[in-house]
């Protein structure tokens, strides 16, 4: 038996694992279920020796162990399959396995009949690469095999094959730990399910002899998303009927074929005066959808803004039509870290008056505008000459929001606009978006926090695997139904 006892791991102010205890029994499939940020990956990293916990201990068969690196874990027969493979793309399968210590001429059983061994890794499908990765992990003959979100990159048919393989591995007496945020997947294979929430165990359930029941599933879901908070809802737009102006309309919008086809056949309307929220767990194609709707990514289907067809037009055309876009990748593509806050604030408006005077950037105008924005949005520290890098995440988001708001968008597409922000800044962001609707604009928010979306939005839908459910008025939706839709579809 592998035991983790009262594991605590902090990253700065964030407690990723909070006195978390868990047992892994020989020969079982343990489903580790939780939202993004629940602490699943951290726990796996601790067990596989990748990171040292701040407190708590590990024990194998009752003996306390201390890992100084992944090699120590492998020596104790703990194998790990990461979400991102560690394969050499230009190697053949055989070379890759030899590198990992496979000495036999024949391929390992789980690859036999599937590949000859002479294929180059880079020519394999993701599912095949994953099998090689699993075969690699099995070379050291582990008793515990940990898989971090193994299904996230797989097509549904490949998921079924993976599960067959994992069942076979369990049959050989190896304990399999399956990390996932999809309830349906956890239920399909697990003998036991542990739900993590905010770094601690929120619920544990064992499969009854007769199989999982809807009651247990509902309990697990409840544990995953927590209890309903007492409402902090804000006044919403009174329900209007009939002919309300549609500002942004998508009809049958899908990602272009090739690569990941993440967004599938999405149709939705954002109307004047409303905030629409699309709730979903991470990685369901939110960024792709946001980029498509804001004009940054080409797509199939039809997108209209105020009735004007914009499909196929470049991003500047969307911006001119009044579409704003708040990215979730604030550091990566929102801001230019090495540049001052002032120069970040003027981005997108640099060619407009008063900032451009016959092609010359009017620094005085940039400075004055920045001072106004810093003051109005309470950006701290209140010095627009500081490099963007020096700002905290919340103040960086205020800067990016200020930049979008300065363009007075008709429709704002915001991806995870409040993610990682403190309550006050979250409130500021929602109020800014409400301001847009009060001026007759519309907002589309992609949210990972269901409760927040329910408290603030006028209509809500769910995104799962690139598909978006129909938008429904918030008062007429049921929270548990939405939570179930987020993980199990509709």
């Amino acid at each position: 038996m592998l035991q983790a006892h009262e594991i605590t791991k902090r990253y700065g102010a964030v407690v990723a694992n909070d006195r978390l205890s868990i047992d892994i029994r020989p020969g079982e499939v343990l489903g580790l279920l939780g939202e993004n940020g629940a602490g699943k990956s951290t726990l796996l990293s601790v067990i596989s020796g990748m990171v040292a916990p701040d407190a708590g201990e590990l024990a194998v068969d009752g003996e306390p162990v201390r890992f100084h690196g992944p090699d120590d874990a492998i020596r104790h027969r703990i194998g790990m399959v990461y979400q991102h493979f560690s394969l050499v793309p230009t190697f053949t399968v055989r070379e890759q396995l030899r590198l990992a210590g496979w000495r036999a001429r024949e391929l390992p059983g789980l690859l036999r009949g599937e590949m000859s061994g002479d294929e180059r890794i880079e020519t394999l499908s993701l599912g095949e690469q994953q099998r090689v990765e699993i075969a690699k992990a099995l070379i050291a003959n582990p008793r515990y095999l940990l898989l971090d979100e193994p299904t996230s990159i797989l097509a549904p048919t490949e998921v079924a094959r993976l599960f067959d393989l994992l069942a076979e591995i369990r049959g050989q007496g190896v304990a399999v730990v399956l990390v996932t945020h999809k309830l349906r997947e956890a239920i399909a294979l697990s003998d036991r399910i542990v739900v993590l929430r905010r770094g601690a165990v929120a619920d544990t359930a064992e499969r009854p002899a007769s199989g999982w029941t809807p009651t247990i599933e509902a309990d697990l879901l409840g544990a995953m998303f927590g209890e309903e908070p007492s409402g902090t809802s804000v006044p919403r737009r009174p329900e209007q009927d009939g002919d309300v102006g549609v500002l942004l309309a998508a009809r049958g919008v899908s990602s272009r074929p090739g690569g990941h086809r993440r967004v599938r056949d999405v149709s939705l309307d954002v109307r004047a005066g409303e905030i629409c929220a699309i709730a979903g767990i991470d990685g369901q194609g939110q960024r792709e959808l946001a980029e498509i709707l804001a004009g940054y990514r080409p797509a199939d289907g039809q997108i209209t803004v105020r009735g004007r067809r914009l499909t196929g037009q470049p991003a500047p055309a969307f911006t001119r039509a009044g579409v704003g876009y708040l990215t979730d990748d604030r550091r990566g593509e929102g801001g230019v870290g090495a540049m001052s806050v002032a120069l970040n604030l003027v981005l997108k408006r640099q060619r407009r008056a008063p900032f451009s005077r016959r092609g010359v950037l009017d620094r005085q105008a940039v400075r004055q505008d920045a001072a106004r924005q810093v003051d109005a949005w309470g950006i701290s520290p209140p010095d627009s000459e500081l490099p963007m890098d020096a700002l905290s995440g919340g103040n960086m988001q205020k800067t990016l929001l200020a930049r979008e708001m300065a363009l007075a968008p008709t429709v704002l597409v915001a991806n995870k606009p409040t993610h990682g922000l403190d309550a006050r800044t979250q409130d500021l962001v929602w109020r800014a978006m409400r301001d847009i609707t009060e001026r007759g604009g519309g907002v589309l928010v992609l949210a990972t926090d269901l409760d927040e979306a329910l408290a603030r939005a006028d209509r809500i839908a769910v995104i799962l695997d690139g598909r978006v459910s129909p938008l429904a008025p918030v008062p007429s939706t049921d929270r548990m139904t939405l939570a179930r839709m987020m993980v199990a579809g509709w």
Binding site: M339, L343, F355, L361, R367
Partner: protein, 360 residues
Amino acid sequence: MVAVGSMTGLGRRVPIARRGISGLLESLLAVAGVLVLGAVLLAITGHDPVVAYRELVSRTLLRPTGVQEILVRATPLLLAGCAVLVAAKVGVWNIGIDGQVLVGALAGAITADALTGAGRPWLWLGAALAGLVAGGVWGLVPALLRARLGINEIVTTIMFNYMAMSLTAWLVKGPLRDPSLVVPQTTVIDRALRLPTLGDTRVHLGLVVALLVTGVLGWVLQRTVIGYELAVTGANPRAARHGLIPVATYVLVAFVASGAIAGLAGVNDVLSTKGVFQAEWNPSYGLPAFALVFLARRQVAGLVPAALFLGLLSYGADVMPRAAGVAPAFFEVLEGALLVALALGAWARSRRGQLREDAP
């Protein structure tokens, strides 16, 4: 006219200024470190470092002819530095300076020959334009490959250097050879038609042109909307795309501009010190230009002092063998060590930055 500061801020308050000073300090430290390394090397090779350095200073900095020669040598280096810098601003490493210098120089020489009867200003203007166009065109292919297909420009521009050497050598040995001469070269431009010297010195009009180019470049990069957009593109292409800046176009334009300025550096040599384009000429401006740009901390204002320092090294390599028996290769070592020292500084800075970023 050259604006101090950079497009990272509006250049006014403490943090940016502090960054600028620590950058200057880093450059000075690199120079000092390289000189110390040079002293050690001199000592190892049996020279007295103090005597050798004293000789170097007295023959270069303390004599009018020495100072003039430094300025003459700094002129093409300054232009080459401008060429590297404009590309570096958008994140492109133009290693193809030497190739662009060669095609620019040859185009300038041919044009000058054709315009012999047109009068000096027209000859200069025509040759300059020809050099700009030729250098730009030579940069265009790698630029297109990079901007459209994402093919690494470092590899392609190195290849284009060899192609430029072979092509110009073949042209000068074959179709374009001056039949009246034995050596493979273009027709010599009459001294009276070359760029005039400034007063009674060896320094010529090319220096003024180089300073002018530097000034204009500084103004464009630091004062204009285009300069701002170039800076955003170089600092974070994804943010630039997000900010509606045509990233691919800017990469293309900056790359071609870089080639054009390098071509101009070639014309400068043909119209001043050389007066002719000779086959197998290896300008060797590319490597010093990189050292120069790093020494200048990628700031236009730093290009001039950096070019003067490298001009000094270049002239030192010529006078020191006779004066103190120091091999010319010694100065190449210093140049290389300078690049390594500056790279180490950049590495140390990124490490410090990384440590700060480590916390999630």
